[in-house]
C-alpha cells in the first residue's frame, strides 16, 4: 500500500483555440494512495472534467507527468493506455452509458471481451458482478427495462468486472434523485471498504461527504485538499437531506429524475 495509485506532478493542460492556447489546468499536483476515497469538487468550468479525462487516460496533459499505478502514462502507446482503461480503471459515467441493445449481462461482460477472456468466464463474472450490485435476476434484461438507479448499479458492475484498482466516477449521481444517489454512494463506500480506490467528481456537498477526502478545483487549480470533516455531514447524521456545502454551481443543477440517454 505504499506506492501511490495516482501521482500527478505539475500538470498543465491547455486547449488550442483560434485565440491561442486556453489554459484549463494550471500546475496541478496530486497523489492518491491505494484505498483512498476522493471527491473532486468544483464549479462548472473549473477544469475538474478535464482533470478526470486525464486521470482516465482519455486525454493527455500538455505538460507535467502522470503516473498511474507506477507507469508514466505519457510514455505509453495507444494500445497500452487502452489496456490501462480496460484493466486498471473502472469508469462510471453520469449518463450510465450502457449499450441499449445489449442485455445487462452482456453490458457488464463487455470489458472482458477486450481483455480476451473466453465466453464462459465472461458470463460467470458478469453474473457475479450483477449479483454483487443486487441485480442478478435481471441479467437477461435490456437496460431500458430497469430504472436509472438500477442502470447506474449495472454500470458500476461493469466498472468492477475486470477487478480494477481504481474506480473513476464522473458525476455518477448527476442524473439520479437524492434517495437513489445515496444508495449508489453506499455502493461506492462498500467498494472502498473492500480496498478499491475511488475517485469521484461531484458538485454536491452531500455526495462529496461520502468520500474520505475532498479536493476542490477552481479555475484550473486545486484550491482546497482536506479530509472530510464531521461538519460536512448533515446535523442528523442522515445523508438524505440537502447539500451542506455551499457550492451549488449555476447552470449545472442536478437532475431530479433519471434521464435515459
Amino acid at each position: 500500500m505504499s506506492e501511490a495509485v495516482i501521482r500527478i506532478e505539475s500538470l498543465f493542460k491547455a486547449y488550442d483555440t483560434p485565440a491561442g492556447p486556453f489554459p484549463v489546468l494550471k500546475d496541478v499536483n496530486l497523489s492518491i494512495l491505494p484505498g483512498e476515497f476522493v471527491a473532486i469538487m468544483g464549479p462548472s468550468g473549473s477544469g475538474k472534467s478535464t482533470f478526470m479525462n486525464i486521470l482516465g487516460c482519455l486525454d493527455r496533459p500538455s505538460e507535467g507527468r502522470y503516473f498511474l499505478a507506477g507507469s508514466n502514462v505519457a510514455e505509453l502507446g495507444k494500445d497500452a493506455t487502452a489496456a490501462l482503461r480496460n484493466r486498471t480503471i473502472g469508469f462510471v459515467f453520469q449518463g450510465f452509458n450502457l449499450l441499449p441493445r445489449m442485455t445487462l449481462a452482456d453490458n457488464v461482460a463487455l470489458p472482458l471481451v477486450y481483455s480476451g477472456i473466453g465466453h464462459a468466464e465472461r458470463r460467470a463474472r458478469a453474473q457475479e458482478m450483477l449479483d454483487k450490485v443486487g441485480l442478478g435476476r435481471y441479467a437477461g434484461s435490456l437496460p431500458s427495462r430497469i430504472s436509472g438507479g438500477q442502470q447506474q448499479r449495472v454500470a458500476i458492475a461493469r466498472a468492477l468486472v475486470n477487478r480494477p484498482r481504481l474506480i473513476l466516477a464522473d458525476e455518477p449521481t448527476g442524473n439520479l434523485d437524492s434517495h437513489t444517489s445515496h444508495e449508489i454512494m453506499e455502493v461506492f463506500r462498500e467498494l472502498n471498504e473492500e480496498g478499491i480506490t475511488v475517485v469521484l467528481i461531484t458538485h454536491e456537498g452531500d455526495i462529496a461527504a461520502f468520500a474520505k477526502r475532498q479536493v476542490r478545483f477552481l479555475d484550473g487549480e486545486i484550491v482546497e485538499d482536506r479530509p472530510t470533516l464531521s461538519h460536512d455531514l448533515s446535523p442528523a447524521g442522515g445523508r438524505g437531506t440537502q447539500p451542506a456545502a455551499p457550492l451549488p454551481p449555476a447552470g449545472e443543477g442536478p437532475g431530479e429524475r433519471a434521464t435515459p440517454c
Binding site: 484493466r87 459515467f93 452509458n97 463487455l110 470489458p111 477486450y114
Partner: protein
C-alpha cells in the same frame, strides 16, 4: 473474441433489419448480375470453342472460282477450276498434313416412306482426318471405294434421324433417284458450325461416286473445294502462300490475272469468332461489375451512417478498454458480413438465373467454380475496401468527443 465480435456484428445488423437488408440487396444485385453475366459470357465462349474444335484445327479451304454466263455470275465453287491433281500437288507442299478434295451438292434421298434433302460431300477418307471427325457407328469407306466409285455413304446424325428414325442405319440401303446407296457408318454428332448451320445434316461419300453417279460433272476430276490441313498453326501463313503460288502456277495465271480460286483460312475465322465472344463476355462482366461497385458504395454509405449513429457507443467501448483495432475490426466485420451474405444470396440468384436462361432461351451457360470463387473473393474485397474507411473513421474517434455525442 471473434465469437463475441461476430455476435455483436449480428446484433448491430439485427437492430436495423430493413436497412441491413436493403444494403445487402445492393450486393445481391451486383453479385447476381456478375455471376449471371459471367455464366452467359463463358457459355458463349464455350459454345464457340466447341464449334471451332468441331471444324478441325489448322484448316484451309480452297474454293474453285465462279462462272459468268451472259453477265450472270455463279458463286464461288461453281467453275471447274480445281481438280484432283491440284489436290495431289498441294499434298506435296511442305507443312501440309492432309488434303481432301471435296465435290458437293444437295440431293433428295429416299428410304422406305421417308425422304430427306441433305448436303452431300463427295471426298476421300482423308476428309474425316482433316476435320477430326470420328465415326460413331459402323466404318468409313476406303481409298479403294474412291477408286471404284462404289455406292456407299456415311451419314450424319440428323440425316440418320430423318431418314431412318429409330432404326439402325448401318447396312441399310437408301436411294438417290433410282440408285441405291449402302450406309457404311454414322458420323459422330458435331452440332452447329459458326454460321449456325447443322453440321450433322450431311452425307459423306467417295469423291468419284459423287462426281460420276450423283452430280455428274462436265470435266473429269473437277472438284468444288479442297480441304487442306496444315501440320501446325505456325505453319499456316507459309502454307497459305505456297498454296496460292502453286495454284497460280498450275492454272497458268499471269501476274495481272486474279486468282481463279478462293483461299480461306478457317482458323482465322474461328479466332475472330472466339475473340468476339471473349470481348462480349468481358463487356458483360464489366457492366455487371458496375452494379457491384454501386452495391459496395451502398455499404460504405450505410456504414458511415452507422458509425455516426453509434458514436456514443464507440466512446463507451473505448473508455472501457477497446483498442483502435478492436473498433476497426468490429465495423469492418459488419461490412464484410453484409457483403458476404449479400454475395451468397446473389450467387444463388445468379446461378438460378443462369439456369433459367439455359432453360428458357436454350443458351449455353457455364457456371465455373472459378467464377463462384471470384464472386466470393470480390464480395469480401468489396466489404473490406468499402468498409475500411468508415471503420477507420470509427476507430480514430476521440473518446472524449464520442462520449459527449448525443
Amino acid at each position: 473474441m471473434l465469437g463475441a465480435m461476430l455476435h455483436e456484428a449480428w446484433r448491430a445488423m439485427g437492430a436495423n433489419r430493413l436497412r441491413t437488408l436493403l444494403t445487402m440487396l445492393g450486393m445481391v444485385i451486383g453479385v447476381g448480375a456478375v455471376v449471371l453475366m459471367m455464366a452467359i459470357g463463358q457459355g458463349a465462349q464455350y459454345a464457340v470453342a466447341q464449334t471451332i474444335s468441331s471444324m478441325g484445327s489448322n484448316i484451309f479451304v480452297v474454293l474453285s472460282g465462279f462462272t459468268s454466263t451472259g453477265g450472270v455470275r455463279s458463286g464461288s465453287g461453281n467453275a471447274p477450276t480445281l481438280n484432283v491433281s491440284d489436290a495431289n500437288a498441294i499434298a506435296e507442299l511442305d507443312g501440309v498434313d492432309t488434303v481432301a478434295p471435296v465435290h458437293w451438292g444437295s440431293v433428295q434421298m429416299v428410304y422406305g416412306p421417308n425422304n430427306w434433302n441433305a448436303w452431300v460431300q463427295g471426298t476421300t477418307p482423308a476428309y474425316l482426318d482433316a476435320r477430326s471427325w470420328p465415326i460413331a457407328d459402323g466404318a468409313s469407306f476406303t481409298d479403294s471405294d474412291v477408286r471404284a466409285a462404289t455406292r456407299v455413304a456415311l451419314i450424319g446424325r440428323t440425316v440418320a434421324q430423318n431418314l431412318f428414325g429409330d432404326e439402325n442405319p448401318v447396312g441399310k440401303t437408301f436411294r438417290i433417284g433410282q440408285a441405291p446407296f449402302t450406309v457404311l457408318g454414322v458420323l459422330a454428332p458435331k452440332g452447329q458450325n459458326l454460321e449456325g448451320r447443322d453440321q450433322d445434316d450431311l452425307v459423306v461419300m467417295p469423291l468419284t461416286t459423287a462426281q460420276r453417279k450423283v452430280f455428274g460433272t462436265p470435266f473429269q476430276g473437277s472438284v468444288r473445294q479442297i480441304l487442306v490441313k496444315a501440320s501446325s498453326a505456325e505453319a499456316m501463313p507459309a502454307v497459305e502462300k505456297s498454296i496460292e503460288a502453286l495454284l497460280r502456277q498450275r492454272h497458268r495465271l499471269r501476274d495481272s490475272a486474279d486468282n481463279d480460286f478462293t483461299l480461306r483460312n478457317l482458323t482465322a475465322v474461328a479466332d475472330t469468332a472466339a475473340e468476339t465472344t471473349r470481348v462480349m463476355s468481358l463487356l458483360l462482366g464489366a457492366i455487371a461489375s458496375v452494379s457491384l461497385l454501386v452495391g459496395g458504395i451502398g455499404i460504405m454509405n450505410i456504414m458511415l451512417v452507422s458509425v455516426t449513429e453509434r458514436t456514443r457507443e464507440i466512446g463507451i467501448r473505448m473508455a472501457i478498454g477497446a483498442r483502435e483495432r478492436d473498433i476497426l475490426a468490429q465495423f469492418l466485420l459488419e461490412a464484410i458480413i453484409i457483403s458476404v451474405i449479400g454475395c451468397a444470396i446473389g450467387l444463388i440468384l445468379g446461378v438460378g438465373g443462369a439456369l433459367l436462361v439455359n432453360q428458357l432461351a436454350k443458351m449455353t451457360v457455364v457456371v465455373s467454380g472459378s467464377s463462384v470463387l471470384t464472386a466470393f473473393a470480390v464480395a469480401a474485397g468489396v466489404g473490406i475496401f468499402f468498409g475500411f474507411y468508415p471503420a477507420r473513421k470509427a476507430a480514430r474517434l476521440d473518446p472524449i468527443e464520442a462520449l459527449r455525442y448525443q
